[in-house]
Symmetry: C2
Subunit: 313 residues, 2 copies
């Protein structure tokens, strides 16, 4: 089937990631069939969709909320949730044995040609698909939290994943307005989390070395290069830094300076004193603002930002 | 003198960075006295100010352009440019001997209590101030390009810089709407360029390892964590990723995963094949768009972004 014919998505596991995916699928007019073992799962999903709706409406036209809620259903088993699905997004806890068991249950109820994507951030698709009957239709479709707002999805096939499966998932996410990228090799952290880890490592080093306060290190990103990174990635940023000669000129003329910095970048450890320093530094910066309040403010700002700069490149 | 009494700024060196600083100072109502040895310097500065004006006007109310141009002057020597200055921003080429010579010329014409800030990205203030008569009033005030748009300024004192000098510079930049951060220790790349180098290193590694295309690695930033980094730095980002327990919970529960990724981050070299791969990757992504066109588009998007999300934290 063509991706444009996908009408029904099964969401297996409706915690924060699953409920966010469900909200996005509903906003795009799809029917969403859920399974989650928690007794409060349906209540939680519907409340999440309701909260997410105004954000989604600011980014693109959405159907009325009551129509969307009517297209959302919870089912008593994985098999019954997936039996009418044209695409499956799996979001269960990051435990290999559990994921493998759930994949077996998904396969038991699902049409044989339907793609199964896992939101896993930590497990490798080759490992997960080893015990599957039809491993060729399985891959990782790793979103960035929250999936209903952030465009990125990392698509990673395993050893047995078919090229068609990768193409279908990339196209499907693209139709939903996501920016799907193809990870060609299985590697811990995929791409975005590795990049995030690389940035944070140096940020932790600079804090631990008392080069600047935690708040000032954060400001160095958000008031400087972070503003560019919302518009373009590190390679294109440096292509522009190269002036008329672009990345070629940049590598030839500023490459040596960057290489020298690379050699001096820190390798901190998250020992107790570094942990205490980060905790104290954050606390000093945020004062009495709760994480919930900060996250709400961030998501509001994120929507403004997405509205201001889309279409994203 | 109090920073609010600063009325006249000398801009020594009016290349891209100096002319951008001059535009910002003029937009904030200051008088700007320039020196640059190039015969076209004044023509270039005035053209730069004219181009920058509409961008500046979108970010904050600005005086009429002709009033601003009337407050801009070029002078035949460093001494005459700085003689009426209440603050000096130096932006000459990154050559130590040249910078030291210029600092001597600045001191020859300048009132003894006035702060001299250097825009240098690569030289250390302790080294630069060694040959100065009054090294205590010298520091680095390193902007992020373009200074008239990006809020970040890294303030770095040297061995002989007075605490008062640091305070004055921080307050002055703050009054101009910049986000000045205090770098407490001299270190190559200060903070922002080290963070940029850390991110790019892993991006180069992932490209060189063929984990994803250059364009997809860039998209992994701009469609994912980069959108958050325009709003908050890496520490606060992970504080929010920790949920209710914040950074404390994050370090305790996800610290081990990040530490494991840290151990696996790449250490690429900018050898000829990596260089070619980056050049080909960029070329594939940008097609026929020139660097000038991309930079213009980026600056337009940057203004939209700054308007959408300010006040920046």
């Amino acid at each position: 089937m063509s991706v444009s014919e996908i009408r029904t998505v099964a969401v297996v596991g409706t915690g924060t990631i699953g409920a966010s995916w469900a909200s996005l699928f509903l906003a795009k007019g799809l029917t969403v069939r859920c399974y989650d073992p928690s007794p409060d799962a349906e209540k939680h999903s519907r409340a999440f969709v309701e909260r997410a709706w105004s954000a989604l409406a600011q980014l693109a036209p959405v159907p009325p909320l009551d129509h969307a809620q009517a297209r959302l259903s919870h089912h008593p088993s994985v098999e019954t949730a997936v039996d009418a699905a044209d695409f499956v997004q799996e979001n269960t806890p990051e435990l290999l044995d559990l994921k493998r068991k759930v994949l077996t249950e998904i396969e038991a109820g699902l049409r044989p040609d339907v793609v199964i994507a896992s939101s896993t951030s930590g497990l490798m698709p080759s490992t997960m698909q080893e015990t599957m009957a039809r491993p060729e239709r399985f891959l990782v479709g790793h979103p960035f939290n929250p999936p209903h707002l952030l465009p990125l999805v990392e698509v990673v096939g395993g050893r047995h994943t078919s090229a068609q499966c990768v193409t279908t998932a990339m196209e499907f996410y693209g139709l939903l307005g996501k920016r799907a990228i193809h990870i060609r090799k299985e590697i811990n952290g995929h791409v975005a989390n590795r990049l995030q880890a690389a940035l944070w490592r140096e940020a932790v080093f600079l804090a631990a070395e008392n080069v600047a306060s935690v708040a000032d290190i954060d400001a160095a990103v958000a008031s400087g290069p972070g503003l560019r990174w919302a518009l373009m990635g590190p390679h294109l940023t440096l292509h522009l830094a190269g002036g008329e000669g672009g990345i070629e000129h940049f590598v030839d003329h500023l490459g040596p300076a960057f290489t020298a910095w690379w050699a001096e970048l820190g390798t901190p450890t998250l020992d107790p004193s570094t942990r205490d320093l980060l905790v104290a530094g954050i606390s000093q910066g945020v004062g009495s603002q709760s994480v919930a309040q900060l996250a709400e403010d961030r998501d509001k700002a994120l929507i403004k930002l997405l509205r201001a700069i889309k279409p994203l490149s």
